[in-house]
Amino acid sequence: MRLLKTYKPFYAPFCDLCCNCTYGKCDLTAGKKGACGIDIAAHQARWVLVQCCMGLSAHGAHGHQLVDHLINKHGEDYKIDLGLQIDVEAPIIRTVLGLKPETLGDLRTAIEYVERGLIHLVSSTHTGQEGSNLDFENKALHAGMLDHVAMEVADIAQIVGYKYPTSVADTPLVDLGWGGIDRTKPVVLVIGHNAAPSIAMIDYLQDNDLEDTIEVCGICCTAHDTSRYTRRAKVVGALSRQLFFIRCGIADVIIVDEQCVRADLPEEAWKIGAALIATSDKICYGFEDVTDKEIDEIVAMIAEEGKQVLILDPDKAGEVAAKVAPLISTNRKKGGGFIDEATAVELAKDCRDCGLCSQACSNLLMIGKAVKEFSAGSAAKLSDIFKSCFTCGKCEVRCPRSIPIVKIMQAVATKDTFKIRSGRGPIHDIEIREVGLPIVLGTIPGVVAFLGCSNFPKGEREIAEMMEEFARRKYIVVASGCAAMAAGMVKDDEGKTIWEKYPPGFQAGGVLNVGSCVANSHIAGAAIKIANIFAKLPGRANYEIIADYILNRVGACGVAWGAYSQKAFSIATGFNRWGVPVVLGPHSAKYRRLYLSRKEEDDWQVMDGRTGKMTVDYVEPAPEHLAYVIESKERAITTIAKLCIRRNDTPAGRQIKLNHYIGLHKRYMGGLPDDIHLFIRRPADIPMFFKREVMEYLKEVGWKQRRQVGLPTLITTYPSKANIDDIK
């Protein structure tokens, strides 16, 4: 892979040993090899591939199940129609498979393609298989690409199957936050990523005119998707508030589907006296499978015997939940976990300031000190920590005095209600037509996509700040999954969230919520569509050319600031495969692998697609890295602006991009960036506003003007069957 030559894999091993087979553990430090002959780099890359396979399987299995469920409902010839605004329905499937999916059955074909690929990828992670880290990475990139196919299948399936709105950009604003939940009604909490059972419940409520009697709220992507289905569904928040919200005891019934659900929900639900219904073969919790029992019998098991059950039929699960909720709600002491500030302080008083909780913290928070100070009357530190806390509960488990730290945090958590725009699905063709040219020329300075997951180093606030910075500067700002929720958790002085302040279209200065995790596919899809629609590159099975186009001409940058899961990793790797760089938050170093270049030393040669003659050393590291961890928000903002620079920028476009890069750098980092000379090809690239200063610097570093390359491309700089004449 040509990409891996410039963007070399960077490994940060998490462990000195390999424990994969019974020859181990093998110590891989200091150049040692394992009993199977593997070295540390290949071992890390193998792990990377395993992670990507897990990620793609999560979406793939989810997609297959959804498609099967909907085919059951609607038949396999059910037409895919995303509405008036969208002709190019499935840019990823088209490009990868060369298939234009027209029916649900075609989506199944696409998923089968993913499944076929998966088994080969997993196979090569077996001991005694692949020996080269680069080939493992190659496979990981392939896995990322399959993941994007799987996500596209899953989101298209639910959009057409559940008729989510897709023809409008300004989807409704829905309530966000735990404060606005109406606790006087029975409350059903839905958690996960596969909305089928939750939607079945909503249908049941609607069909029986019970909508007003039950409060439906959700966490994670199922929340996104139920709020696409009905405005009434409320969004509690991101994954990181799962344990917190459950411990509040507000939910009467919890419906769990799949992905990003805590493994200890049975215990947690039991503690607050809520019913728990598992609905997926992915998460069975050891519950009895009651799928084949009668609904009334199941309702009785839950409401009377207090059983937690597994119901694999979404429709049945939905109906059971709807029926159980009022029964549970009247029987139990409502909000058993709900406490007031005085109680919280009282509970905190048991703290002996031993600091064990701090040591256990996943996010390196000094939680012990905060609890101590809170018990002494000062809530400031705890309130601060709550903002960065994922409520993972590790501190609490460690506390020798069993202080309920997570519960105590209720005292400092805002009870405010926020807003989030519900997910809109794919970008419209017409929008692409309008912004395609300015993006490729560089006059829209970039598309910045904030991808899901909420393992944020310093809380939700940073996401909102970053998004706003780019929206204000007229970038196109897109968000998905937990990131979209996080962005909505911050209000400005006028009490407005970012979702209320910016236009919802794919336009300069627009702020978009595409939807749940699987809607990430629409972000890659938009980049592909730019090539398809605007540049008229043929879409079908024209993978390599399109990725090359995006890498060299579409100024897009992904930001996965809180990436925690295997899915997030495979999604990011998939973006890389499409030529889109991704900035990751500090936790993501734990993924063990990044793709980095070294701007001064690496291979920046490109081909001039117009003349077909090799440009010797193009110098310009654009984009500089493909998968890159950045430590602080300030530096991230600066770097994102830089990563939107593309080789194809016109002088006007480049000026605009550099203007932002320099401006942000001055603001957050101080002074001119010291690599600015690498991005200036000719004097016309220099932003007016900084001209004098930049010129001086250029002189200092001995900058020389370079010629502009027409249609820059990597095609022909590496062995490939792709034809340079195809790049246009």
Binding site: F10, Y11, A12, P13, F14, C15, D16, L17, D27, T29, A30, G31, I40, A41, G355, Q359, A360, C361, S362, L364, K394, P457, P586, H587, A589, K590, R592, L594, L596, R598, E601, Y628, V629, I630, E631, S632, E634, R635, T639, Y668, M669, G670, G671, D674
Partner: protein, 178 residues
């Protein structure tokens, strides 16, 4: 084998840091290095030690030990405010990526560094970076000047719980470096 302050940084493995209690000994190692580099992370500008900014201590160390500085995160800005120009301006992962290459010329273009000292890098991230260097940069040694201790470094401090102890450590170190 050692235990760092943070659980997420517990070493899983076999090759762990030498713990050096005595700041004078640290100073000795730094002085012996031919081309050391001091990497400063954002915690140096986001945290105080006692009343002083963490960064102030680090700058004193750099000055006393004549260590070139790599400013990561947004440290640069606060350095400029103090009229100190960092010798380089990479983010933590970037500088580590460069350090892996024995042929790299270093921030002063005089050759790759032989000793890397860290302060104020987010602990879990620093530990990942130190792991990278442990494996892929056998040509250099790493020192974690961090009160939470770093098993993947070559040399680390013991866990220092008290601010006053930490201040004192810095002071003795600076004295011994000058």
């Amino acid at each position: 084998m050692m235990k760092p302050y943070w659980d997420v940084n517990i070493l899983t493995g076999s090759k762990t840091a030498r713990i050096i209690d005595d700041p004078a000994q640290w100073a000795g190692i730094i002085k012996k290095a031919i081309r050391p580099l001091y990497i400063l992370g954002p915690d140096t500008v986001d945290r105080n030690i006692g009343a002083r900014l963490f960064l102030e201590y680090c700058l004193d160390v750099a000055k006393a030990g004549k260590l070139p500085i790599c400013a990561t995160g947004h440290v640069r800005k606060k350095m400029l405010e103090r009229d100190v120009h960092p010798d380089s301006n990479y983010d933590i992962i970037e500088i580590i990526n460069h350090l892996q290459d024995p042929e790299w010329l270093g921030v002063k273009k005089e050759g790759n560094h032989d000793l890397i000292v860290f302060s104020g890098v987010r602990c879990d991230l620093a530990e990942r970076g130190l792991a990278t260097l442990k494996y892929f940069a056998p040509h250099l040694k790493t020192m974690a000047l961090c009160r939470f201790s770093h098993p993947n470094a070559d040399f680390a401090l013991p866990v220092i719980r008290k601010d006053s102890k930490w201040q004192e450590y810095f002071e003795i170190l600076i004295d011994n470096l000058s």
